[in-house]
Structures are given as C-alpha cells and as structure tokens.
C-alpha cells in the first residue's frame, strides 16, 4: 500500500522542550501485564511515557535487554513481576530480583545511576498500582534528567 507520509518522524525522537522520560517496561505475562490491562479497562490514566514488552516471566529478563534499553535511548527501565511467593513458574521473580540487584551494582560500579532501573511486584489485580508506579517513575526520572548513559554510549 502506498501511504503518504512526509518523513519518518516518530515523536519521541525530536527533543521536546520539557524533558519527557522514555520508559521501557519488561513485564511478566501473568501479573504486571494483566495489571496494565486492568488499568486500561478501568480507564486509570497514567503518563504515556511507558511502553511495554511482554515476557512470560520476570525471570526471563536478560540483563542485556536492560543495558540495551539504557544505551539505546530509554531513560528508565521498569521490570514488573509477581509478588514473592506468587510466581507462576515457582521462582522466576526471585531470579529477576537477583539479576536486577547485580545489574544495579554494576551500573553503580561504572558510575551510572542504578535508580533508572526499577523492579516492582505488581499482581494481576493491581491495575491502580501499575498506573501509580508509572506515574511515580516518570516523576522520579524527570528529577534525574535525561539518561547520560545513552549519550555517552552513542558519542
């Protein structure tokens, strides 16, 4: 199909006047993804700064995804998993917790802000919690400013 578009300009690439952080969320299929769905059906409004990548389990998070997001232009990474003890795959959320903790240490070790990576337990019934977490994260990232890791990486 032929469509007329002047130029490929997805917003978000242009620099807005005020800093709007870009967040990528890696979320568990069984809990946080469902919570995001619930926020939708309940029409709970939250900032449009987040985009969701569905994984089957938070334990499937590969640290390279987080690093890629941070070097690739995202200002924050949210990882959403089931509450402790509730993992659909028994212990995946604990695996996520270990990996994120280590990754945060590494980020701190090389002088970057580990608070750009959030791990949160949000169950399928916590739509409001998902929206609140996104809002909170946007505020937090606004106060931290743009992600220098992206800038330095692509220098």
């Amino acid at each position: 199909m032929e469509a007329t578009v002047n130029e490929k300009t997805p917003a978000g690439r242009s620099e807005p006047e005020t800093f709007e952080p870009r967040i990528i969320a890696f979320v568990c299929n069984w809990c946080t993804y469902a919570a995001a769905d619930l926020a939708g059906t309940a029409r709970i409004q939250y900032p449009p700064n987040v985009k969701i990548v569905r994984l089957m389990c938070s334990g499937a998070i590969d640290p390279i995804y987080v690093l890629r997001a941070l070097t690739g232009g995202f200002d924050g990474v949210l990882i959403g998993g089931c509450h402790p003890g509730d993992c659909h795959y028994q212990t995946g959320n604990y695996k996520a917790r270990r990996r994120v903790t280590i990754l945060q240490k590494i980020l701190e070790g090389v002088g970057y802000d580990s608070e750009r990576v959030w791990l949160r337990w949000i169950s399928a019934s916590e739509g409001g919690q998902f929206a609140a977490t996104v809002s909170e994260m946007v505020e937090s990232l606004k106060s931290r400013g743009p992600n220098v890791l992206t800038h330095n990486w692509n220098k």
Binding site: M1, G12, D37, R43, K51, L55, D62, T71, G73, F74
Partner: protein, 1129 residues
C-alpha cells in the same frame, strides 16, 4: 456505500451523493445531509458540545459547538450539531473566530454556573478568564436537553421550561412535583451540569435499581454488564426496568449505537438438548439477614452482610477495595463480625444447620481488612470456631496472634445504633466476667449463612429429585458414599451406584450433583464435587466419549521461513475506543513506512467476522508472511487473529498483537497526540518483533491410556474403579496384604452411612473389573517420566519380584493413620482408649458392657496445637456418634465430652443437637488449662475446670476416650521423594492450589485423594477420589500431549555446556547431555518461563516467541540503530 446514498437521495431534484468539504484543511467527502458534527466525529475531530445528545434532534441551544463555515457566499459561524452539509464548504473547527466565540460563550455560561465541572474543564482548556463577569450561583445553563429528553425520548413531559426572561428555569409543569414522571433518570443522565435531582421532580419515592452483583451497594443502569467476568462480554438490557420495554418510548440506545447492535425484538428461546447425563450445581443463596431484626440489617446503614463486605474489599467492588462505611463514606476503625447469623439457629426464622464456611470467611475478611487498612480493629464474635479445613487452623492462629484480630466467644443477640454517629453498640456476654457487656463499633458485618438456592424447588420437580427439609438435595453426601458406577452395568451394586455424591443418581439415573446443592460447602469442596460429578457422567457415557467432537481443518501450512518478511499491519479503531483518542489514519500511514511492511489499513472492528475475512484475503492478495494487528489486549483476541492467519495458511506464530487500547487509548484519554505517537511506536515495536519471528511447530507425544493408583483403601479403590469404568487400564498398588485401608479398622458402618457390605462390594467390583490390575503387598520403588508417559517400578514385598509399568497419569491415595496419643496416660491403663478403639467396643456384640459410671471423652488430644497445628475434622462428629451409640445402650450412664470447639459443620450440627438432647454433657476446656487425668486401682479420674461454674469438676468414668485425631503416614516423606511432590508442614501431601486445584499436584499428571490430602470423612474421601479420577481422565482421554509454544531450544553450536540453564530450571526440563556435554531441553517438561534463556551467557538457549533478536527489535523505536544483538539468525 454509494448505492446506499443513491437510494436515499433519489427523490431529491438536486441529488448529490457526496459533498466535497474540507475539515480543518483536510479534504473529505461526506454524505449529503450530514451534520457538521457527525462528519467531524466520524473523521475523529472532536467538537465540544453541551446540549447535544445522539438520540435527540439537534437543538443548537448551547452554542458551544459553533464552527466557521466558508462557502462561496462568505464566512460565518454555525452550530455544528445543527448545520446540515448540502453544498461544498470549508469548515474550520478551531479558527481564531471559532475559539473566540466559544470562549465568550463559555465565559458567560461559567459566570452563570461557576460550579459546573463540565464548564470548568472547558474554561481551563480554552484559557477562559473567570473574573471578568460577576458570578451567579446557578447550576443550569438552560440548554433544555433535559426537557427535550423527557418530551422526545421518554414521551412523558414531566419537565418543562417555566418563567420568562431572567426567571426562566427548568421545572416540572406548574412547578409542582410530577405525577407522570417515571423517575427514569434520563434527564439527570443527559444534564451537562449535573443540575437535575430526580427527587425534586418525581412526586413519589425514588428508588434506585441496585446492583445484584455488588450486593445492592450501588445503583446500576438498565443497560449493563452484570459483572466484569460476564460471558459473553456483551451488555444486556434489563427488560424489567428499561423504559422502552416498559412504555415503548425512548429507544435512544438503538439510535446511538453506530454498529446497530441493539435489537429489541430478541426473545428468550427454549432449546432442546439431547444429553446422556445432567450435572446439577445451582449453588446457594445467602440467608436474608433482615429476618434477624435485632441485628439491625436493613435498618441500620452500617450493618452489612459478609457478602457486602466482600464487595467492599474487592478491587472491582464499589469502593475499589477501600473500606468505607455506607453512612458517611468514612473509613471504619472498629469492625465487628457476628457469626452464625441465621445458622445453628433453631428459631423459626433461622436454620438449624451450620453453614460451614462463615468462620473461615470472616477470619479471611478480617485479615484482608487489616491488609487494606492497618488501623482497622476487627473483632469476631463466635460460638464455636470452626476452622476444620486443611491449613485452616494455622490461618486462625495467625489471625489471632500475628494479625491482631480479636476473637470473642459470645453469641450476639442484639445491637443498636447511636443516632449521632451511626455507630453500633453490640450487646454480648463478656466471656471473662459472664456479664452482659456493650461495645461500640463503626461497622458491623453479619456472617449471614448459606441457604438452599431458590431454584432448587423447580429443579427438583423437573428432574424428579427430592429435597430435604432445608431445601437442599436430599441425601447429603455425608450420608451415602457410593460403591460402583452409575452406568447400570452391574458393577454398581450395593448402594445402587451413582458417584460419591450420587443420591440424585439414585433417584434418577444420569443426574449428578455438586457443590452447595446438597449442603453448604467451601470452594475446594465444591470444586472437588464438580470433578466428582463429571466422573459420574464420564463413567456413564464412557462408550460415547469423543463421538460428538469435531475437528477443525486448516489448509496446508506455507513454508515462508526463507522468504523476505512481508508484513501486513491492521489497525483497529475499535469503534471510538481507540479512534476516539488515537488518530488511526495517522498510525496507518506511519505503519506503511516501516521496514518490510507491505500493507497497512484500518478496521472499525478488526475482530468482526468480515474483518477477519479481509485479513485472510489480504494475506493472499499481498502474499503476506507476517501479520500485526494493533487493537486490544492479546488476552481477548490474540488467538482469534492467530487462528485467522493459520486459516490463511501461515504458521500462527507469525502473528503479533499491539495493544493500543488497554495500554494506550484507554489510559491516555486526555492526550490524543501523545497517545497517537505511542500507538505508532507500539505498532513499530510489534512490527520489529514479528520481523524476527520464526514458525513454531508443537511437539506431540502419545499418551499411555493407563493410570497408576497408589493406595488400595476406599479412596484408591474408588479412583481405580472409576477410571476402569471410564475405559482406562488401571494399576492399583496396595502396600498392605489386603485391600481396604483404614476402613478395615471400623468395626461398624461409620455414621450409619454405609451398608455392612460396602467394603466387600467395593472390593468385589474392583477385583471383578478386567481393566484393573492389582498389586497387593507391593510398593512403588521408582518413579520417572512426564505427564502422559510415566514409568514406575513396583516391588512385591513378599516375593521381592519387581514389575515395570508405564502409565499416563497417577493418583496418590495412600491414606493416613490414627495418631497414637502420648497424653492423658494412654497405654498405661486399659480403661483409657482412643475413639477408634471405643468404636470397636461399641461395634462388638457385647459392647462396652455395663458402664454405670459412664464415659468421659477428651477432644483435640494432641491436635490443634504445635507440633500438630491442624484440626482432624472428623473427631467431633465421631465422638458424638459414639456418645450417642453409648447412650442408646446405657441411657442412665453419664457421658461428658470435654472439648475446645465443637466442629459438627454443615448438616452434622443436627447430631450435636441430638446428643445434647440425649443428655450428653459438653464441657469446654481451654488449651492452657487442659483436663488432668489420673488412673489407679480405684478407677480413672478426670479433673476439668468448668468456666461457667468457675470451679474444678472431678469425673470418675468407667472409660476415658481420647479423640486422638489423624496423623500423616510416616512413610509419606519417602513417597514424596520418590514421586517428587511436596508435603505440607504437617506432613500431608500438598496440592497445586488449595482452592481451585484441590486434587492436582503441581507436577502435571499427578493427582491426590483421600486422607493423604488431609483429614476428612470417608464419604469426603470417596468424593475426592472420584474427582481425582476425573482429573486423571483429562490426561488419559487425550491421544497426545502437546508442548507449549513458548518453550526454549538450544543452538548447539553456541552451547558451551556451562549448565547455568540447568540450575535455572524449576521443572527439570534442562539437562546436560553426558555424551556431548551440551545442554538439552525436554519439550514436554519445559513450561516456557524463559529463565534459562535469560541467563545463557552465549545465547545458545533461545525461547520461542521471545527470541532475543525479537526483543532487541522491540527496543528500537527510540531512534537508535540496532545491530548489536548477539543471536545469530
């Protein structure tokens, strides 16, 4: 579309099928005669209005919707709602002139009605000054929408404009409350400023239509989803209350619905089904608590029922999980839970039986209330605490000791309200002092009991089954567990067949019951009953199994793996759900520019049948090999779309769904531009993901249609027989030298529920069934394999002979043992016996002989306290049964039962009452002040402190009977290791989910029944074993088992054999091949969590559907080139 217009315009002299206009500079064609507002709405352009309502003729009263119209005759402002497009024109919805006019209108209206939220919002949006004009304090903008609605739609004229000039206002005619008003509420619904109060219009008493689902806590509309889980999820019209159905007026919904979904002509239909079995599970009703007038329900606002409180606690409830009391929406601090409301109540208005579930339900509600709000102080007033289920006792103890919940043993007869605060004063007997006490609470929750469902009577009549005096199905399951199957094939002799719940079957063959149809039940028991009833039907219909099922046919799958991706993108408008916020044409245009996208288009509803056809045609036309639909959450229609491309010949995993409704339009409703940008990026992410997709073919392995049942007691035999009669071979392994298990230890029929020959009949049926292979005096010594394909070795204890067997599913029914007491001098004196021993004495011809000094029983011996912090469930009823039997033989000899709580749950409560009437004396003791037993040559002495008389009582019975309870088998631990299944802290086997999977193990293909699960009555064991057979049959009935799509695979060239993946896997699906040193995957064991793929340092492990390349593609739409992903492709 053109044909349609031609017919419409054919009568006009000047007929133009379409008129060319520009809307805000965008050229478009609209149908001749369309209003500007309608044209703008369909183009996704929002024009604000106040007085417009889709079901009414436009009035142009509020002047908010003005737009600028430029024709060859010049430029002017016109109301968009009213102006009909008949000639080419340029329309501007946001020109300077329009905005200026709109601002002036808003300013004037706001000055009149400064408090109207709709106007305040508009004022903020348009930056209207609010201080230039002196404010009035009106709240009506005189748009007349209410009056028009009442007149035109409702055909009622209960509202009118009265007065002139500055005195003009909306009121009922003659400014008198209206008698013709129907209090339908339409005027209030349409009012843009929330001015209308029905009570000021309607002459009668306004009564809301209250939500049944939300337990009458909130009003509901007449078109509604009754609850969010409704299937199909389509709103229905409440015909009893809808104005259209009541008076014939209105019909607004039909006019407004732009897809024409409203059909007033639909009628209920009777359908005739030809079936071989009927399963009856009508559920229960709640006791009407208003019958207990002294407890104030229905009179005092802050008295709720337990179900109402459940709704308050629910996140989907009226307060979204916040606890607010009805009178003032305040957060209550002190909450009283009153137990046994309408239950255990022999008054006329009450029910004599125990409702079983309320104690545990109230504890749960109190605990959750504390979780929601830690300042809540719950107090539970109760008679006996009945937490007899698995793990319930710990929950109760935790509630008391860790969660700060107060328990008061006191039945509350009366409460009253304090007028000023609407607080409630609960009058009760103080446990410590024995005096009447009063305590004030902010909220009272009544544990209203369970009563027979109102539909029971009709069901009973049409199914020809009998109800008992309480309205439950006659012959509650604790009375008659069954022997054989109900198929009438001769095996079900004895009690006449049926299943464990088979009384109904006895009355009418082929009818099986479950749940609270027979008595109040907990969720796990109801679930077990459901599976049990299914097993009854499956036995009956074994021969017909699968004969009516049909298989869907798909075209041959195209091999597109080597083709360059050709991606088709379909964006869904979802009516206005997406298009109302997201600029869909913009997203379509953007999608077309993305790499490998060869087609993009939009649908109004992409899930509709014709849209699916279009998708299939487009796949063929453009030779698409990958498809993205951007619409709602994948949970609603992902399968539908994936199946559609499968029908088009593609592997269904060449599909991805972008959630631009739940994750975009619905959550960014105020930010259309940002939402449109995000929707584009979400589509781009999924286009990236689908580009890296690979076909997935599922692995299948054949199922061995044979079961293993471990344990040859009543549970094991019932499970085996049920499976055998469903047509599956069954290997039954019993450790002892004969079948029968614990039942052999009963010397007389338990609770008179069984015929004397029950066990013999059951054994004969098992032995006589050619599908059953018996392994007596044998044990399972080795167990391996996966669901559908297990393997075990069985050793005969006597001969040492070993058998190898293969099977598709297994049932564990190994039973439990009576605990041998170490307390109260057991074993030192032959006059001190256990309940089972006592039962044996009573069963013997001689009985316990003459026992003039009577019997003392001590309950909860070694139970309900550490280290056995569980209730054995059966002992209270067992003790009462034995006490009654003893009384029948020795009417004058005293019987004392020393107890902590009497737990004769459900209909067993009648036995408790019978025992008290027969003169059995019940004395309660506290766990920290247990009875003291001494025995000597003169006899046995039992000293117990009686709280009522506050003194120690000394009893000198002929016999002391100890209710020792049930203990897990000591060899459970060994078996749990062999089978690799978990045990509870108490040593019983642990099911997959206490409530919804009560007879499944977490390991697929393994099931659990009887005392191995937890203490329970024999009849409950039977029900459970039949349920387990039913669950096992869900595996055995399949031809093959398929692997999950999202499992992992190994790229052997990359694998270094580090075994990190092996350590990650909770399912033993990952192994290291000893020969090659490379990691392997069991496709059947793998559950697809992806934890191993995430940790693999070489990216040798790849998860299907979530390949690293795919995820990396998804991270691209921020403007950074990709290219550093590690996975080769």
């Amino acid at each position: 579309m053109k044909e349609h217009e031609e017919t419409r315009c054919s009568e006009h002299d000047v007929c133009e099928t379409a008129v060319k206009i520009t809307l805000d500079g965008v050229p478009m064609e609209v149908e001749h005669g369309t209003t500007i507002l309608a044209a703008a709405t369909s183009a996704g352009v929002t024009i604000p209005t106040l007085c417009h309502y889709g079901g009414l003729e436009p009035a142009g009263a509020c002047r908010i919707c003005v737009v600028e119209l430029r024709t060859d005759r010049g430029s002017r402002l016109v109301p968009a709602c009213h102006y009909v497009i008949e000639a080419p024109a340029a329309i501007s919805t946001n020109s300077e002139r329009v905005v200026s006019s709109r601002k002036m209108t808003i300013e004037l209206l706001l000055a009149r009605c400064p408090e109207a939220p709709a106007l305040q919002d508009m004022a903020v949006e348009y930056g209207v000054a609010t201080d230039r004009i002196a404010s009035d304090d009106d709240d009506c903008i005189l748009c007349g929408l209410c009056v028009r609605t009442c007149r035109e739609l409702m055909e009622t004229e209960a509202l009118s404009m009265i007065g002139r000039g500055s005195n003009r206002r909306v009121a009922p005619p003659y400014d008198t409350k209206s008698l013709v008003c129907m209090s339908c509420g339409a005027c209030a619904f349409v009012c843009p400023t929330n001015r209308i109060k029905i009570s000021e219009i309607y002459a009668g008493q306004v009564s809301d239509n209250l939500s049944t689902y939300d337990e009458r806590l909130v009003p509901v509309g007449n078109i509604r989803l009754n609850y969010s889980q409704q299937i199909p999820k389509v709103p229905v019209i409440d015909r009893d209350n809808c104005v259209h159905f009541v008076t014939g007026a209105c019909g607004a919904c039909e006019k407004i619905c732009n897809v024409g979904a409203i059909d007033y002509e639909q009628e209920d239909r009777n359908e005739t089904l030809n079936v071989g079995a009927v399963i009856v599970t009508p559920g229960y009703d709640s006791y009407d608590a208003s019958q207990k007038g002294a407890l104030g329900y229905g009179r005092y606002e802050n008295v709720l029922t337990n179900l109402q409180f459940e709704r308050l606690l629910s996140a989907s409830g009226p307060c979204e999980g916040e606890i607010r009391r009805p009178s003032d929406d305040a957060h209550p601090r002190k909450i009283a839970f009153l137990q046994c409301v309408g239950s255990r109540d022999t008054n006329d208005e009450g029910k004599p039986y125990c409702s079983s579930i309320c104690c545990m339900a109230s504890i749960k509600e109190a605990v959750i209330a504390r979780e929601h709000d830690s300042s809540v102080e719950p107090t539970i007033f109760y008679i006996d605490m009945r937490t007899q289920g698995k793990e319930f006792e710990r929950y109760f103890e935790d509630a008391r000791n860790k969660h700060g919940i107060t328990f008061k043993r006191s039945s509350v007869a009366k409460l009253y309200e304090k007028a000023a605060t609407k607080n409630l004063v609960v009058r009760h007997v103080d446990e410590e002092t024995g005096e009447i006490a009063e305590e004030e609470f902010d909220l009272v929750v009544l544990a209203a009991g369970l009563v027979a469902h109102e539909s029971n009577a009709g069901l009973a009549e049409s199914l020809n089954i009998t109800l008992n005096e309480h309205g439950f199905c006659e012959g509650h399951p604790y009375q008659v567990p069954a022997t054989g199957g109900g198929s009438g094939d001769g095996s079900g002799d004895g009690n006449g067949g049926g299943n464990g719940d088979g009384q109904a079957a006895e009355q009418a063959a082929g009818i099986f019951t479950g749940g609270a149809f027979t008595e109040p039940r907990y969720i796990p028991e109801a679930v077990v009953e459901g599976s049990c009833a299914a097993s009854g039907a499956a036995r009956l219909l074994a021969e017909a199994r699968g004969t009516l099922s049909r298989k869907k046919k798909y075209p041959k799958q195209l091999d597109v793996a080597k083709q360059v991706p050709r991606i088709g993108v379909f964006i869904c408008r979802c009516g206005i759900n997406i298009a109302g916020t997201v600029n869909v044409p913009d997203v379509v245009a953007y999608s077309a520019t993305l790499p490998n996208v060869v087609h993009s288009s939009e649908f109004v509803y992409s899930c509709s049948q014709d849209s699916l056809e279009v998708i299939k045609e487009t796949v063929a036309e453009h030779k698409l090999n990958r498809v993205v639909v951007a619409s709602c959450t994948p949970r609603t229609h992902e399968y539908l779309f994936a199946d559609t491309i499968r029908e088009a010949g593609l592997n269904r995993y060449y599909f991805e769904l972008a959630s631009i409704r739940e994750h975009c339009s619905w959550v960014h409703m105020q930010q259309p531009e940002e939402a449109t940008r995000k929707a584009k990026e979400l589509v781009e992410m999924m286009v990236g993901k689908v580009r890296g997709a690979r076909a997935v073919s599922l692995e299948y392995s054949p199922v061995v249609h044979r079961a293993l049942v471990i344990g040859g007691g009543v549970s094991g035999m019932n499970a085996a027989l049920s499976l055998a009669e469903q047509g599956y071979e069954c290997e039954l392994v019993e450790k002892e030298t004969r079948l029968g298990g614990n039942y052999l230890r009963h010397s007389r029929p338990v609770m008179n529920l069984y015929t004397d020959s029950y066990l013999a009949d059951l054994e004969a049926a098992v032995r006589g069934n050619p599908n059953v292979t018996l392994h007596i005096d044998s044990e399972v010594i080795l167990f391996s394999g996966v669901v559908g394909n297990f393997y075990a070795e069985i050793r005969n204890n006597e001969t040492g002979e070993e058998h190898e067997i293969s099977f598709g599913a297994a049932v564990v029914a190994t039973g439990a043992v009576e605990r041998e007491p170490v307390e109260y001098g057991y074993g030192t004196d032959e006059r001190i016996v256990t309940q089972l021993e006592f039962e044996k004495m009573l069963g013997g011809a001689a009985g316990p002989g003459v026992a003039p000094k009577g019997v003392v029983m001590i309950q909860c011996v070694g139970s309900r306290e550490e280290p056995n912090l569980y209730c054995s469930r059966i002992c209270c009823t067992q003790a009462i049964e034995n006490a009654l039997e003893f009384k029948r033989r020795n009417p004058d000899a005293p019987v004392h039962v020393l107890y902590r709580d009497i737990r004769t749950y459900g209909l067993r409560e009648e036995l408790y009452r019978e025992a008290r009437e027969a003169g059995v004396l019940f004395l309660r003791y506290e766990v920290d002040r247990k009875p003291i037993v001494e025995s000597g040559p003169d006899g046995v002495s039992v000293k117990v402190f009686d709280r009522i008389s506050e003194r120690e009582i000394e009893l000198g019975p002929d016999l002391l009977v100890l209710s020792a309870g049930l203990a897990p088998r000591p060899d459970n631990e060994e078996l749990s290791k062999t089978l690799r299944v978990p045990l509870t802290r108490d040593g019983f086997f642990l099911e997959a989910h206490a409530k919804i999977r009560p007879v499944d193990f977490t390991s697929e293909g393994l099931f659990l029944a009887g005392l191995a699960h937890s203490p329970r009555f024999t009849n409950e064991c039977v029900t459970q074993s039949l349920a387990a057979s039913s669950r096992a049959a869900t595996i055995l009935s399949r031809e093959k088992i398929e692997s999950k799509a999202e499992i992992v695979e190994v790229n052997l060239a990359r694998c270094s054999g580090c075994a990190l993946c092996v350590s990650m896997c909770p399912y033993e699906a990952r192994k290291l091949d000893e020969e090659t040193g490379k990691a392997t995957v069991s496709d059947i064991l793998c559950q697809g969590c992806g934890a191993c793929a995430g940790i693999c340092p070489n990216k040798a492990t790849v998860q299907h559907l979530y390949r690293q390349t795919q995820i990396m593609h998804m991270l691209e739409p921020v403007g950074v080139p990709a290219g550093s992903e590690v996975e080769s492709s």
